[in-house]
Amino acid sequence: MSVADPLWLLALALLPLALIAQRLSHRRTRTYAVRFPAAATLRQALAEGADRRLRRHLAVGALLAALACLAVALAAPRVTHRVPIRAASLMLVLDHSGSMDSNDVSPTRLQAAMRAANTFIDQLPASARVGVVAFSTAPDTVQQPTTDHRAARTAIDSQQANGGTATGPALLLSLQLLHGAEKHHPPAAIVLLSDGAANLGISPVTVAQEARREHIPIYTVALGTPGGVLNEGIFGPTVPVPPDPGLMQQIAQSSGGRAYDARTEQYLRSVYQTLGRSLSTVARKRDISIYFLIAAGVLLIAATLGSVRTAARLP
């Protein structure tokens, strides 16, 4: 618990002063005390416990407590509590290299990947933040993680297949986009849609190991069949473009995610559910002065009622 305005806490020092003032005012009692010959009998009745001593001090005690509560409330106390966050971030890393144009998967690998990505986005709750990094020779299309899912769709749907496969740099970039500079970032995951066979830049396995340290699992979807070929134009040669499911498996395992292939892509939706289970919390400060104000009010009413009941009503 912390206070926003500690200067007000100085008002608590007034409480002992109030007590002392009350004690001093007791000394003046003799000036208004009523002459009463039966005072000795009254003292005897008091000594026998006919008076509830506690009740005599109740009103004063409640009043002082109300003042204390008021002083604390003015100081605006705050409590730090951990709020669970539901908004997890997901980064779709889409490979649109030339090999993705192979039609061993109907209609093409890229189309299948785009469909899988769109299906995945459909299944996400609106609060999930989705970002897109599309890459070929280098990460070219970047959509920051946002709750606006249409932006992600637009980024996905605009991809054309060409160029090399720089999986490592794309993963590194998406990792940076997800955790930013924060140490405690919200839960996040990366979904890599690729046919594997990374051939440019930093090794994706290295990135995957770093992702594990950041607690960001990478889920991979391997596309394509071993017999996949690429026709370089109508008259061009036929280039074999086999996928590399082993590399995808390795990336997933090193980062703590799971590897899927085109046949199991419908299981991709479980990615988000897995994330939901590992939801974390963030620290939030909340002003609790209202409770002190309520307590002060209640105590003030109690003190008033208590003193009305026992107030002197001399005829």
Partner: protein, 315 residues
Amino acid sequence: MVTGRPPTTGLRPPDARQGPGPIPAGLLDALDVAIQRLIARTLAGSRRAAGVGLGTELAQLRAYEPGDDVRHIDPAASARTATLHVRVHVPERALTTWIVLDLSASMAFGTAERLKADLAEGATLVFARMGVRRAGSVGVVAFGIPGEPGGIHVLPPRGSKPGLVAVRKLLEQGVAPDGERGEGGEPGSLADALARTFKLSKLPGLVVVISDFRDQRDWERPLGALRLRHSVVAVEVGDPAEAELPAVGRLAVVDPETGDLVRVDSSSSRLRERFAALERERREVVATELRRLGIKHIPLFTDQDWLVELGRRIR
């Protein structure tokens, strides 16, 4: 110390003093009959007198007649006249009234029509005026006076007008002012005053004790001693506010005699009940003791017509 001088210090008329009110002579005459009946036993004939013989004062010498008591023959007169002469005495019938009067500070209290001191003054005047009838004399033993030696002031018995004037002068002085504990010690108590009266009053007579019997101890024994020699009447003066505490909230009361300050919450019904019970018990003890000693007990309250009440109780 027996002096006729009224105390000039140590007494002061209470603020709310209004006197006992008119005392009609007709009412006194009616009371006189009752008082004569009350003291009849103490006069010659009914009880052994303090002196010797039927009387002490010579009324006349006359010739012996058969039937006269031979013990009354006067030797000297018989020898001189050569005939038998007897002494005839005046019977002892002059009454001495001793009034034991409480002048302590607690008497200056009253919440109804008069102060307790006014009632005591009235009762004193009634008994004094009846005491000086038929050649009687009145003495006063006033107690509870701070300035006096032993706290007691004595007016020696005097008859007729001088006796009444002395009593009136003493009554006009008022009562003792409010005291503080430990200031000049305790002023004389009821027991001291009764013991002093026993010492002073040799001849049988009437003793009237006028007090509130409050905060007094060990008065039963000296009162019993007085009872053996005199007719004793006890007038207990009280105020209704002393019997029951009103519900007036927080109260600070001070004992007029000791200066003891007591703070109470009179809205507590438990305290009020306990106080009323203790007061009832106290008055019960006084009444029981007086009944045990065979002393006529006349309680007078400030909310009553005290003269009517006195007349009703005395017969």
